[in-house]
């Protein structure tokens, strides 16, 4: 089979940060290649280079044996490489009707008409829609369409260019399963028409349904290519999550008395209920792919959302926090995922960021005792070895790892009963990651610690026990000592269908 699209030794760096490192990949016509990779593996960067948003730092690409180096997204589309982006609403203009959206790219550029002719617009739109067998009301507003229909409109417009290569970046992440079915039907049709498709996803169910071939990306490198039928899904997940031999083993401890019990909690109406117990002094990791409900569970424990059903107890008392403030009062702390978005107050200095949740404890008659506040910040700087000039540094002057240490220090500055960290190692360098993990283990006594991690390595380095989450429920439990890594990977990859063994 002739190669349609070839990537050869592609590299990309942002400053000192090497995001892609010698990626080589071939795409063939009439074949769906699935690209798997954890957060930060470099998937989006690869897509952006292919679609002309970024220029590569090294390497070359070719399309149908011609050199291909688009300098703008428009150039990429003209050459025949179209991209359907993850965020569906990026692809459509919601204030315009379907017909205009279907022909949006004809409104500008050379040869575009000066006046907008509604009848011509409708005629062209009808052709575009027919090309994909799309059955939507051309006069409808985009805003009145379902997400799936909006995405179809975006895809139909892209298809009007008769593309040779189509890139879909996690297209089902906000679709329901029946909507996803419709998308799959269209993707299958495009494959049969001979388009080379690169499909990026975490969702095992999508991958099982579509993949002709799986490529795993990890830390900017291709770590596995799987094309032998039947496809080795577990091997692909393994290659994506990585399991390097040098992962430092932890000396596993057993927990003391139970602190948190969760009984028959359901995170989503259609998800299976699960139960678990967390004990004093133990560090438990919950691992699983992106979008399987880890963050939902973390936020449920922290009172930021409510479980559909089920009971929780904390120290034997019924625990049903109605707000984060409620959870904090009960001694349940959460270091939230994505610190820039949901942790750091950029206008505040380091000390003020640390004291934020505990201002009442740092206040006398509601007046903040700044000396005590700074004192606490200095303690955390020392405790976590935060690299900074002092407790009055602004957060923006710190590196990602040190910012994360401040976030951890914020919640370590007061004693907790249950300490939850959601993806605490995202965008954190290895040294800082080791520091944080070591500190978590060192002062784990007197509380239960729960860490949500997508990367298996990180879980192996941090936890006493590892639970596996899939499809919004817990499907496996492992003691982090001579654990059966194959069974664990099978649980991560398989989900509820054959997990829970």
């Amino acid at each position: 089979m002739a190669t349609m699209f070839r990537i050869d030794g592609l590299g990309k760096s942002f400053g000192p940060n090497k995001v892609l490192d010698g990626v080589s990949l071939d795409l063939f016509p009439g074949q769906i290649t699935v690209l798997m990779g954890a957060n930060g593996a470099g998937k989006s960067t690869l897509v952006k280079i292919m679609s002309g948003v970024h220029a590569p730092s090294a390497g070359a690409m070719s399309l149908a044996d011609q050199p291909y180096a688009p300098s703008t997204p428009a150039e990429a589309i003209r050459a025949g490489v179209v991209t359907v982006h993850q965020n569906i609403n990026d692809g459509v203009v919601s204030s315009l009707d379907v017909a205009t959206n279907l022909t949006l790219d004809r409104l500008t550029g050379r040869g575009a008409h000066l006046f907008f002719n509604r009848r011509r617009n409708r005629r062209e739109a009808a052709e575009v829609a027919a090309g994909l067998g799309l059955d939507v009301d051309l006069k409808a507003d985009i805003a009145s369409l379902s997400l799936a229909d909006r995405q179809m409109v975006g895809i139909a417009r892209a298809m009007a260019h008769a593309p040779k290569v189509m890139i879909l970046d996690e297209p089902t992440s906000s679709l329901s399963s029946s909507e996803a079915e419709r998308l799959f039907a269209i993707i299958s049709r495009l494959r049969d028409e001979g388009v080379a498709i690169l499909y990026i996803s975490h969702r095992m169910s999508d991958i099982r349904r579509l993949a002709d071939r799986i490529v795993s990306l990890r830390d900017g490198r291709i770590t596995g290519t799987f094309e032998q039928k039947p496809l080795d899904y577990e091997g692909a997940v393994n290659a994506m999550l990585g399991r390097s031999a040098e992962a430092t083993a932890v000396s596993v401890r057993d927990g003391g008395k139970p602190i948190l019990t969760v009984s028959d909690v359901r995170l989503k109406p259609q998800a299976a209920p699960f139960s678990l117990k967390l004990h004093d002094g133990e560090v438990v990791a919950i691992t699983g792919l992106v979008g399987v409900g880890k963050t939902q569970f973390a936020e449920t424990l922290f009172g930021a959302r409510r479980a559909v059903s089920g009971e929780m107890t904390l120290d034997g008392q019924r625990f049903a926090p109605s707000s984060p403030a409620d959870a904090i009062r009960a001694g349940v702390f959460l270091v939230a995922k994505d610190r820039a978005e949901s942790g750091i107050v950029a206008d505040f200095n380091l000390a003020r960021n640390i004291s934020l949740p505990f201002l009442d404890r740092f206040s006398f008659l509601s007046v903040v005792r700044k000396r005590a506040e700074r004192e606490a910040a200095r303690r955390q700087i020392q405790n976590l070895a935060i690299v900074c000039r002092g407790e009055r540094d602004m957060m923006t002057t710190l590196s990602g790892g040190n910012q994360q240490k401040v976030m951890v220090g914020r919640w370590m500055s007061q004693p907790s009963r249950l300490f939850i960290l959601d993806e605490p190692f995202q965008g954190v360098d290895i040294a800082a990651r080791r520091d944080i993990a070591a500190k978590l283990r060192a002062n784990a006594q007197g509380r239960a610690t729960l860490v949500f991690l997508t990367e298996l390595d990180e879980a192996l380095e941090t936890a006493d026990r590892i639970l596996v989450m899939s499809e919004h429920t817990i499907v496996g439990e492992h003691r982090n000592e001579r654990l059966d890594i194959d069974r664990l990977l099978a649980e991560v990859a398989a989900g509820a269908m054959k997990g829970a063994a």
Binding site: A304, S323, P324, A325, I328, F348, L359, S366, V367, V368
Partner: protein, 329 residues
């Protein structure tokens, strides 16, 4: 060097202006002139301090000017038509301010209307509402009511005293009530925002609401309270306005909103804060007052005043957003 300029530039400019006017005009450097400056910015300043609270939580309140004039009309209506005493009139005004702030907050937080639009709508609504009880007439003692009768009430002496009384301060009868109120409110809101945990949390809400929420703050309540503070401050401004004029004048208070917002925004530049702050707001109001008073004493015509204010605001904003690298709202 650049840091020092950003930090103290505006204060230095203020001092330079005072020195310049003191030398260039006779009578600028006197206690009476100083008090007059304070008096001229008192009502604007109080409104500006209120709107600062909404700026801190990342909002904006365009209704303050019309809240103030509504409060003024309400005070006059309460005393002249309803024949109430000064105490009732003041409470009535404060209640109106708090209620409008509460409604603003609820519309913005729960109905998800953007702050500028919600308060713009409220401004319009109040401008119209304050004219309805008297069918568009100003309210003064002995006025003819819509039904042909004559209003029986008068502005009570106690209420008029708010506008007329002056406290002794080194010199007899020097400091008017409005200036004392301004200074007290300025210190209060400054202390509240800078030193209490509530003020701190309000800044956190303005900077990163999600982080504030995950730190246990009731973000919605903080936002609503900010609008209530703004409404109450504006109604205090309205009370002072009514007491100064001695009537409910539908034509007064046109410039209040713009002047107050300008003072609060000029405040961003003070001490290089790059964010809303009570001290800066007070200095901003004072800056405009000093400039206008000085220029007036140098016989610069009155019709250039708005131009001067606008120019100061534009310069201060450039100062804030381009010179000091951080971006505020």
């Amino acid at each position: 060097m650049a840091n020092i300029l950003i930090r103290y530039g505006f204060l230095a400019l203020l001092v330079a202006l005072v020195v310049f006017f003191s030398v260039a005009t006779s009578g600028f450097a006197s206690p009476q002139a100083a008090v007059f400056i304070f008096q001229s910015v008192a009502i604007t300043g109080i409104l500006a301090l209120g709107v600062t609270a909404t700026l801190v939580v990342g909002g904006f309140d365009l209704s303050i000017g019309s809240v103030a004039t509504s409060a003024m009309m309400a005070a006059a209506y309460a005393m002249i038509v309803l024949q109430q005493n000064a105490f009732v009139a003041v409470i009535f005004c404060l209640a109106i301010g708090a209620l409008v702030g509460l409604v603003n907050g609820l519309i913005i937080v729960y109905m998800r209307v953007p702050d500028l639009l919600a308060t713009l709508g409220m401004m319009f609504l109040l401008l119209g509402l304050q004219r309805i009880p008297t069918e568009g007439r100003s309210i003064a003692a002995g006025m003819t009511m819509p039904d042909g009768s004559t209003a029986q009430g008068t502005f009570s002496p106690a209420f008029m005293a708010i506008g007329r009384h002056r406290f002794d301060f080194f010199l007899p009868d020097l400091v008017p009530v409005s200036v004392v109120v301004l200074l007290i409110l300025a210190v209060l809101i400054w202390f509240f925002l800078e030193y209490t945990r509530f003020g701190r949390m309000m800044y956190a809400v303005g900077s990163n609401p999600r982080a504030a929420e995950l730190a246990g703050a009731p973000v919605k309540a903080y936002k609503i309270w900010a609008y209530i503070i703004s409404g109450v401050f504006a109604s205090i401004g309205g009370i002072l306005l009514a007491a100064r004029l001695g009537r409910g004048d539908i034509a007064s208070g046109n410039n209040l909103l713009l002047d107050a917002v300008a003072a609060a925004l000029i405040g961003y530049a003070v001490l290089g804060a790059s964010k809303p702050n009570a001290f800066g707001t007070a200095i901003g109001a004072l800056f405009v007052g000093v400039l206008l008073q000085g220029l007036t004493m140098m016989n610069v015509p009155y019709y250039t005043q708005d131009f001067v204010k606008g120019a100061v605001l534009v310069i201060a904003l450039i100062f804030t957003f381009s010179l000091s690298g951080r971006t505020a709202r």
